[in-house]
């Protein structure tokens, strides 16, 4: 099966190694990956600013770029949710959208639900805490949000459990927002950083060496705070651990 690879704009520009790790893990599990060079952005920055009209042309470009793929995979929960859920308010009724919304998957979702990965053959002998990004957790349902009284397995945790030598630890507040929130990170700078710093304290208390997650945007925010404060705990996208590109 050929997969259309959607690499969000900020991963393309700032975290190319996360894109490479995504390609590697998909190929390792027998998928042929194609990256259409015409892709840009899903339009979320415009949509979350209320600029639906400005988002529409970007969404239409996205649909045109990806409409011929049977499956689209993306290493970001937030961008995947934008296309699957929020495009309904931008290009709802568009035939390409109505088809694509059932064919686009966040990477962990794809690996668990479709690839049914049960073996990874990678090792990461470190203490790791998972940052549950809000849109993946609550909109794509990749795990059980702490507010809901339901049973649901965390796809990120079940994948990481397949990694040799890894020690998974859990923070006291299981899924508190890190405070990135797109434009929120600059419009409410003080709050955004206070939320991030509190999250870092929660993670430090677990004794973790690494914070991992399925959204680079949250990790960029937490990583930016960590780097400025010269703290030792590091951030890694989950694809890097699953693909074994980091040791």
């Amino acid at each position: 099966m050929q997969i259309g690879l959607f690499i969000p704009c900020y991963i393309d520009q700032l975290y190319p190694h996360v894109g490479i790790a995504t390609v590697q893990i998909l190929e390792k599990h027998g998928y042929q990956v194609d990256y259409p060079q015409a892709q840009t952005c899903c339009g979320q920055p415009m949509f979350n600013s209320g600029a639906t009209k400005e988002c529409k042309s970007v969404a239409e470009h996205f649909l045109k770029t990806f409409r011929d793929y049977e499956t689209v995979v993306c290493p970001s929960g937030s961008c995947t949710s934008m296309v699957r859920n929020h495009y309904a308010h931008v290009v709802g009724g568009n035939n390409d959208y109505e088809t694509l919304k059932n064919r686009i998957f966040e990477l962990c979702e794809f690996l668990v639900d479709h690839a049914k990965v049960s073996q990874l053959d990678v090792s990461f002998p470190h203490r790791v805490v998972v940052h549950q990004s809000c849109h993946g957790l609550r909109e794509l349902e990749t795990g059980k949000p702490s507010e809901l009284m339901i049973e649901r397995e965390s796809k990120l945790h079940s994948l990481l459990a397949l990694v040799d030598g890894i020690e998974l630890v859990h923070p006291k507040r299981l899924d508190e927002c890190c405070g990135f929130g797109g434009t929120f990170s600059v419009l409410e700078e003080a709050l955004s950083c206070a939320m991030g710093n509190d999250r870092i304290i929660d993670y430090e208390e677990t004794g973790a060496e690494y914070i991992t997650g399925a959204d680079v945007s949250c990790l960029m925010h937490l990583g930016g705070l960590l780097s400025r404060q010269k703290k030792s705990i590091k951030t890694l996208h989950i694809a890097e651990i699953l693909a074994g590109t980091v040791q």
């Binding site: 190319p16 339009g43 949000p145 929130g181």
Partner: protein, 462 residues
Amino acid sequence: MTEAAIQSNHPQQAEAFLKDLKRARWHDQALWFMREKRDKGVLGLKEWEALREHASRIKMHTLSHLPKYLEQFESEASKRGIQVHWAKDGDEHNRIIHHILSQHNVKRVVKSKSMLTEECHLNDYLIEKGMEVVDTDLGERIVQLANEPPSHIVIPAIHKNRQEIGELFHQKLNTPKGETDPTRLTGAARMHLREKFVQADAGITGVNFAIASTGGFVVCTNEGNADLGTSLPPLHIAAMGLEKLVPTPEDLSVFLRLLARSATGQPVTSYSSHFLGPRPDTEMHVVIVDNGRTGHYAQAEFRRSLSCIRCGACLNTCPVYRRSGGYSYGYTIPGPIGTTLAPHRSLEKFHTLPFASSLCGSCSNVCPVKINLHEQILLWRQKLYNAGIVSPAKRLALGGMSKMFTFPGVYTLGGNVFRGVMSLIPGNVIAKITGAWGKQRDLPPIPKESFRQQYKKMKGHE
């Protein structure tokens, strides 16, 4: 009108709140403790999610048949001897209540908690007319003595620590200087309030739920103050938003299970007082208030927020509310629910509120009546943009961004130029030019090549 003159500026207020980081952390922890109590209270109920769904449907049903249920309530309440009044706005609500009170020559009023009377500024109105109005909920009394509005809809004085309450009580209630023991301070408030209950000529309460089929209504308190305030005086006036209806007592039972668990984790509030008509020789009045609610109702995409039962769970779970405090919203009702309600009053005045959210969605998940809070917040951003309440610079930037992302050539070139330029600038300079991002955060190391460039090379070699 005075309220409308003040622009709400959430980022500024939040930054000020966070200046005292120790206090902000304490506020965050205190409210998170409430969220944890809610989780514990809810955990034992296997049917929790089904209850939420059921409650949501009851509310949606009631709202879509609101005129019928309001008429039924009025007719049934009248049969029970309850006098029903209708107020189109806050002013009329205040005038009606004042009129009833003056007819009874009331000088002293005791009031139990009601966010509606806060919304209508009833206390100020009655005090200006020469009456004494005493809030009898402990938290409400604390903020009233401090001459402040509530900062939370369930725990109105949550922003005050016990040292501050001790000092306030020392000044206003003559407790010993330096007394900060919660039990002794509560004892002092109790003595003070008992005296007010005994002296009162009338009691005012809110309404948590009004039951259309019986014409009765329910007031929930943890302190029993609604009962004390209405049992002694010969006059009880209840102020009720027109969305507070439920069709039957069976429906009520669903909400009584949800309300206290969501608010504090208790299985049920300590006192759920059912008012079914006046005692002999006394009067009972209900004032049903619109104050913008029918206008809100007409906007279908926002209708669900009229289901709110004011439990405060969305405030307690909100990472923004916990770290910016109730006053940062500049509206009677703060937090996610306030953010969805305030713009109905004035989109312009409250234009920063829809952006005071990371859209994490925790609020929608804790809401016992399943209001799509974070979706409504996002929707308000669209309304703001379409109404032109957004700076020209931002509009231009979003337009430019749209063009860039629609044309891959422009995007690719832009990205390459951006990385090229950034890689030439020293880190300390980047911190300065990245504006709000760079104040407390670094950018990641800028890679030489984008993913698309690396991918091309990788595939070229195969």
